[in-house]
């Protein structure tokens, strides 16, 4: 009975994701046909302008929206279960501040070692991991849900202060590059980076499935889980590592994206009405991807009227949602 409900919503989310993905690909100022799409995917070389537009812009942007939405939602779910806190998420806990800081270091100081694309992703993941451990350390001595969020916010402010100091010292060229990155966009990914993106994304989803048992145990609280034989230290490190993979990867390519990781896991839980993480992982990936694809369709179709930055749109939807949860759940 419960399973039927979950399967229904999984199917619904999949269908909606497909519909909006198709919409996403064909919405835009230049109209493209479905034959452009198939030729762009299956032809080798000699692309027409339409096919190049499809290959270089539309498809990477769609994939980026799916990866960013699904990945951030999953990262948020991992944080919420680990900290047993419905308000946790990679953005509010300052995990992507870590990415921002290391990306800022590598772009603004213009160091050649850290300058390449691959190492940009790598430094974003390392930054996220370090800040994840930092938040973990704080969570050991802070009991209240809200205090942990405040610490996350402080980490964010602290980092942005450091970043602005770095900005002041940087050259004009580096400053521009970093400002461009910081605005947050799904359009910065290039075709050649897609394999790396997809591989890390799918790998992290696979890793999340390996964590299903500890996650399910953490639902009843750390103490009870430990008395059932859960190795807390191992679980914490693994969960933080997977979260850092998602957050770092996405932050490196898209810049900071707010609230997806906070709102989607809560929506998923409300819709699926379960604490079984096998279903929650699938649900978060699908609903997260759907959420960001819908957001991006909205951005693209309104482009001629108003230019909506991605981060602004997710915040407009996400911030009221946080207040809603505060009113309903955390007293």
């Amino acid at each position: 009975m419960m399973k039927r409900r979950i399967l229904f919503y999984l199917l619904l989310a999949t269908i909606l994701l497909l519909v909006f993905s198709i919409l996403h690909i064909f919405v835009g100022q230049i109209s493209l046909s479905s034959s452009d799409f198939f030729r762009a995917v299956f032809k080798n070389g000699n692309y027409s302008n339409e096919e190049i537009l499809m290959r270089e812009f539309r498809i990477p942007r769609l994939l980026m929206a799916i990866v960013a939405g699904g990945g951030l939602a999953l990262a948020g779910m991992l944080m919420q279960t680990l900290f047993n806190n419905p308000l946790a998420g990679p953005y509010v806990l300052g995990i992507n501040s870590g990415s921002s800081l290391l990306v800022a270091l590598s772009i603004l100081t213009g160091s050649t070692f850290l300058g390449s694309e691959l190492s940009l992703v790598f430094s974003a993941i390392v930054g996220a991991f370090i800040f994840g451990l930092l938040i973990l350390l704080f969570s050991l001595s802070v009991k209240s849900h809200l205090s942990l969020l405040l610490i996350g916010l402080m980490l964010g402010s602290f980092t942005s202060a450091l970043v602005s100091i770095l900005e002041m010292g940087a050259g004009a060229e580096q400053f521009k590059a970093f400002a461009f990155w910081g605005m947050g966009s799904l359009q910065q990914i290039e075709l050649s980076q897609i394999p790396l993106l997809m591989l890390t994304f799918l790998g992290s989803i696979g890793a999340s499935f390996l964590l299903v048992k500890p996650l399910n145990m953490l639902v009843i609280g750390e103490n009870s889980a430990v008395m059932l034989g859960l190795s807390l230290r191992k679980t914490r490190i693994l969960v933080i590592a997977v979260t850092a993979l998602f957050t770092g990867l996405i932050t490196a390519f898209c810049g900071p994206i707010a609230f997806v990781g906070l709102a989607v896991p809560n929506i998923t839980k409300l819709v699926f009405r379960t604490q079984q993480h096998t279903w929650l992982i699938l649900g978060n990936v699908l609903i997260g991807a759907l959420f960001l694809v819908v957001c991006d369709v909205l951005i693209q179709s309104l482009e001629s009227v108003i230019h909506l930055p991605l981060n602004a749109l997710t915040s407009i939807i996400g911030a009221p949602f946080v207040i809603f949860i505060l009113l309903k759940k955390v007293r």
């Binding site: 103490n223 034989g229 604490q275 079984q276």
Partner: protein, 234 residues
């Protein structure tokens, strides 16, 4: 089953000593003592969430210190004083989590696991609640659920930290009687801390009393009256 030798219980300072004591299966032991005398610390020391302050504890003849972390839940199960319930977690799913020490790395329930879960659910008469979410149940049913979770763990030793603290009289009575039945029928060694001395005397439970004068844990095989226990612990 559980053996204590010059065991010191305490977190930062030693709270009490257990000189030489053996607890056996088939018994429900009541753990009595004033607030703050270290009843919870005692139970948590056996669970190893509080380090042993001194001396030694043996479980089934093995020193507690050298038992693997993955083996301990197969020997000892713990029930906290209150389970507040979790949204969207059904009672059956909650109880099934007690199988975690037995299941594989993915937590997959085998037919044998499911059988055990169903068996315990019907033993405690929880069948009609099993599909309800745990945050929508009454305190009494939830506490029985917590005990069910500990029972499906199939550990020979069961520790309960004031499981009746938040229950009304009827539920207290039901819970203690159920525990006594289980101790006998499943041949388990159960230690249950509680302030309900009347009930334990009525059920003629062997009582572990924390004597506040000597700072020692003393076993009263079957205390005759309430005054005898109170005289010891106060």
């Amino acid at each position: 089953m559980i053996g204590f030798k010059s065991t010191l219980i305490g977190f930062k300072t030693s709270l009490f000593e257990i000189e030489n004591l053996y607890l056996f299966p088939g018994n429900l032991y009541l753990l009595a003592g004033k607030n703050g005398t270290g009843k919870t610390t005692f139970l948590k020391t056996i669970m190893r969430t509080v380090p042993l302050h001194g001396g030694s504890i043996q479980i089934k003849g093995t020193d507690l210190k050298i038992i693997e972390s993955s083996t301990l839940p197969l020997l000892v199960a713990f029930v906290e004083s209150r389970f507040v319930g979790i949204p969207f977690l059904s009672l059956k799913e909650y109880i099934a989590l007690g199988r975690a020490p037995h299941t594989n790395a993915f937590g997959r329930l085998t037919p044998k696991d499911n059988e055990k879960v169903d068996e315990v659910i019907s033993l405690l008469n929880l069948s009609s609640y099993q599909d309800k979410f745990t945050d929508e149940l009454s305190d009494g049913i939830r506490q029985l659920g917590a005990i069910a979770r500990a029972l499906v763990q199939e550990a020979p030793i069961l520790l309960l930290d004031e499981p009746t603290a938040f229950l009304d009289f009827e539920n207290k009575d039901l819970l203690m009687r159920t525990l006594k039945e289980i101790a006998v029928s499943q041949n388990k060694c159960i230690i249950c801390s509680s302030h309900d001395l009347d009930l334990s005397i009525e059920l003629a439970l062997p009582t572990l009393a924390v004597s506040s004068e000597e700072n020692k844990l003393i076993l009263l095989d079957s205390p005759l009256n309430k005054q005898q226990i109170i005289g010891l612990i106060c």
